[in-house]
Symmetry: none
Subunit: 229 residues, 2 copies
DNA sequence: CGGTCTCACGACACTTTTGCGACAGCGCCG
DNA sequence: CGGCGCTGTCGCAAAAGTGTCGTGAGACCG
């Protein structure tokens, strides 16, 4: 979980307010003060959703949006536009910009949050799911609790996030690099092999006598959550 | 309980009176002196109910009400209008604009409180629940009393509110930030770690020889009311 | 069937996060 | 006033979790 939202807004006070409130709502937030910085950050780590001010220094919101649509990694990243009252609201509505939704300033924070939630639910339902299941494994995000066949499994924070990520796409193989990005965050500097260690720990925690191993190692490729080790 | 009521009233004496009385009745109260401030506060933290003066500087009560109805988060927030005597004719329109109830100034405080209670009971029954239970824990809101297995538990005001909040969703994990918002109020500036201290105090107060700890710590995530520490 | 590569795993030193006792400040009440 | 109950902050020690390394077992390849 912890969807990653990039807030692109030049007005500092508003950016801070957004940051604070979205953080509070359980999102991971990064900020960019202009279009240029926004594109840099997106390149660093593609966000799950972008909140984009219409008017921006250097590269305008519309242009940022266009470029997002051009990138293969970000083509489907939902964009929520912030527009001032009279400001070209019709154009945004017209959707020529490629924004998926918009709110008009000034807006209620609660409305913004609701719209963000709605967008994410539409585009990335697995991020919003309260409960992930695979085989006899259950991960309950609200309770922050993992069980395997009714028995509680205790995980450290990192193993928990790792499992959460793997459970979003069971069966799929992820490279160590991909896992580092997803679980540790894009700009953390950690040995790649550290992933092995945590996968090992997760395996151990998930291990049940007689039950099959749920994590599959794909030699020289990565790991996957999968019946049949 | 501790429903959060936003009082929007420009006349200072009346606002203070309302604040004082509602507080006394067990509500958490915030004040806004005009429509603009009201909308800001609502954006910060959506209240459980709004007491709204009909006549307001900057943005009128009707307009505030209309905007509340526009926000998806606040669409269902009950609004209680305060109208002056001469504004009788406007009563109907007040209800047209989406207010859920109204009282005519001057009014008896007890009537206002009764109407607030009625509205909340209708819209947010879980907030008005008289009695919360979990395991052998009982929190009686009417008596403002907590017992664990027949034995009285003494709590300070903060621990009481904290427990009340946790008991509304047992098992769920709340971050320290979320708890600060819910228990201390959204715009109070208190160290995050203070939550730990109060959780600690609550734990101690709830502790019974031989019984399990009812509060679960989730490392790097928060706390939950839960059997099975 | 060796030579490589890759991975699992235990050990360990280091960080981060929590629990807790101590303490000073505050508002209230007799 | 002076005590009392409550609060918020500190600092420290314990607990829990983290990242790196070395070793050895197995997998893959020609």
């Amino acid at each position: 979980m912890t969807p990653y939202v990039l807030v692109v807004e030049d007005e500092d006070a508003l950016a801070t307010l957004l940051d604070y409130n979205l953080m509070k709502e359980g999102f991971r937030v990064e900020r960019a003060a202009d279009g240029e910085e926004a594109l840099l950050r997106v390149a660093e780590e593609p966000p799950d959703l972008v909140v984009l001010d219409w008017m921006l220094p250097k590269v305008s919101g519309v242009e940022v949006c266009r470029q997002l649509r051009a990138g293969s990694e970000t083509r489907r990243t939902p964009v929520l536009m912030l527009t001032a009252r009279g400001e070209e609201a019709d154009k945004v509505r017209g959707l020529d910009t490629g924004a998926d939704d918009y709110v008009v300033k000034p807006f209620a924070m609660s409305e913004l949050v609701a719209r963000i939630r709605a967008l994410l639910r539409r585009t990335r339902p697995e991020l919003m799911e309260e409960r992930l299941e695979y085989a006899d494994l259950v991960l309950d995000r609200a309770r922050h609790r993992v069980t395997r066949g009714d028995k509680d499994v205790h995980l450290g924070p990192t193993e928990y996030r790792l499992l959460d990520f793997l459970m979003q796409r069971p069966g799929r193989v992820f490279s160590r690099e991909r896992l580092l990005d997803a679980v540790w965050g894009a700009n953390t500097y950690v040995e790649v092999r550290t992933v092995d260690v945590h996968v090992g720990r997760l395996r151990k925690a998930l291990r049940r006598e007689g039950e099959p191993d749920l994590i599959r190692t794909v030699r020289s490729a990565g790991y996957a959550l999968d019946l049949e080790g």
